[in-house]
Amino acid sequence: MQMWQKLIIVAALTTLIVMAGTIVFFNNFAKRRLIISTTTSLYDTGLLEAVEKDYEAKHPSVDVNIISAGTGIAIEHAKNGDADLILVHSPVQEKIFLEENWGVNRKIIAYNYFTIIGPQADPAEISGKTANEVLDRIVAYGDSLADQSGQTKIWISRGDNSGTHAKEKSLWTAAGYDYAVISAKPWYANVGSGMGHTLNVANQLSVYTIADIGTYLKFYSEGTISLPSLVTEEESLLNVYSVMAVNPDMHKHVNYDDAMNFIAYLASPETQQFIGNYGKSDYGQSLFYGTVQPLKDKAPQPIVGWIQSAAFIEGSECPPQYRNGSAELYG
């Protein structure tokens, strides 16, 4: 046998050993992996990292692995079976996800608001207006610009199929615009990435964008960005976060037990309080609010009513056919 042939055999064996070693390690010796694919806002604010630490301290045999990608990609991960659990904020996409049987046991765990931010000088005069008026004024201002060559941008979009992007699209539709027309306007820019990156770009270019209030407040109070928030909280800007486990009937290998345990943990009063208090001391206000107790108490109104109309599916946070025998979660 020639030298290069021997070497090829050695190379093939080494490769096999590396792969086999990893498989054996993760199946037998490592902690149980719980892979969470999440919207960027929960991760970029630091909330999920704090929750992960707390959960791992209470469940030492579980290793929580977080992949922060945005709602659209999180749902794709779940469909591929590459995640055990997803944390997302796009009720329309979640409904389809459940209906296609990819996910089970949806639980609404938190809410906050989207906000629209922009330059201090506010050339489009959107300050204090409702979302519909804001978009009208953005369009009027954009169309009135002298430079329509595409060099001057005034609005930045996530453009990544995330929950925030879905919200932006639905706001344009609600305001009576065709999103395809709007997104083709020369003053409309699309960055195709996470909330943090989008905020940085908006700040550098000093333009308008929509952001979840959690990520925005973290960036603003730490001085990373200086664009002020120009609108106030209102129903159309409500932002509702949900958790879902990947359906074990669709992907046999998923870590369903730990996923369900994690969902119950998120919905527990202690974690709900933890979520509600997160960031209060650093940012002067809560970044997120727990939903489990308000939904149970049907108070405070009108927020509970807003959550129900924005994020309920068939009148429930998770219709019975998608509960996979975990009725106690919805008691």
């Binding site: 030298m3 990893t22 498989i23 922060s68 001085g223």
Partner: protein, 251 residues
């Protein structure tokens, strides 16, 4: 501007105090890229030997193929590997997606063409008389190959270093198939991207400094090795024998 200054100060603090997230990413980077180079060398060397020492039909085609693979965008390779290793993919049943193994394999695949290309050139540069000489002296085929490899040591080392640099500076593959999971598959490049995006400038700068230090030290080592080689030229230590000369002595 003050933000950037604060970031640099915070970065130095993190480096000095031994921040666990920072050094976790440093360790992962060195470990993944190091193992990837070893794997890629194991794959690449036999192919390089074949290309350098044998003549067969289609040799130029294969050589051109590997040379053009050097320029493949890492994100494209990342996507390709994701499609293969995702649970729905061809090797999905292995469950390797988002593990260090798939990052290492991905980086190894990425740098194999570099190793092959540089190593082939190095092996080709060895005087063909060497192999004949070895044979006449009664060396077996394997012994003759080893003699050629010894002559090309410097070129082979260079291929390893160049590919290590490429692996450690790479973002696309490790981000897509590794998922940037903190403490598991986060490396210097993915952590820089993540922490820049979420406004942790201090940590991002610290990571950047360390990445630069690693890459510069490796290149400095190469330059230094060449300098030492000229110093000790008379001693003819094969490892510093860049031009593959003096083979009569080293045989």
């Amino acid at each position: 501007m003050t933000g950037i200054l604060d970031g640099i100060i915070e970065a130095l603090e993190l480096i000095i105090t031994g921040d666990p997230v920072l050094y976790g990413a440093v360790f992962n980077s060195l470990f993944f890229s190091g193992v990837a180079v070893i794997l890629a060398a194991l794959w690449g060397l036999p192919i390089a030997m074949l290309l350098a020492l044998k003549n067969f039909r289609g040799k130029t085609v294969i050589q051109t193929f590997f040379n053009s693979l050097i320029g493949v965008p890492t994100v494209a390779l990342g996507l390709f590997l994701f499609l293969i290793f995702s649970r729905e993919g061809l090797f999905g049943f292995l469950g390797l997606i988002y593990t260090p193994a798939v990052v290492i394999i991905g980086q190894a695949v990425l740098i194999t063409p570099i190793i092959i290309s540089i190593a082939t050139t190095a092996l080709e540069a060895v005087d063909p008389e060497i192999i004949n000489l070895a044979r006449t002296l009664g060396a077996s085929e394997s012994q003759a190959s080893i003699a050629v490899m010894k002559e090309a040591t410097n070129g082979l080392l260079l291929s390893g270093v160049a590919s290590f640099n490429r692996a450690i500076a790479e973002l696309g593959v490790v981000l897509i198939v590794g998922g940037n999971i903190v403490g598991l598959t986060d490396v210097l490049t993915t952590a820089i991207a993540q922490h820049t995006a979420i406004g942790n400038l201090g940590l991002a700068i610290a990571l950047g400094i360390i990445l630069m230090v690693i890459v510069f030290s490796i290149n400095a080592f190469i330059v230094l090795a060449r300098k030492i080689k000229t110093l000790f030229y008379g001693l003819n230590i094969p490892i510093f024998n860049l031009e593959g000369k003096n083979h009569e002595n080293s045989l």
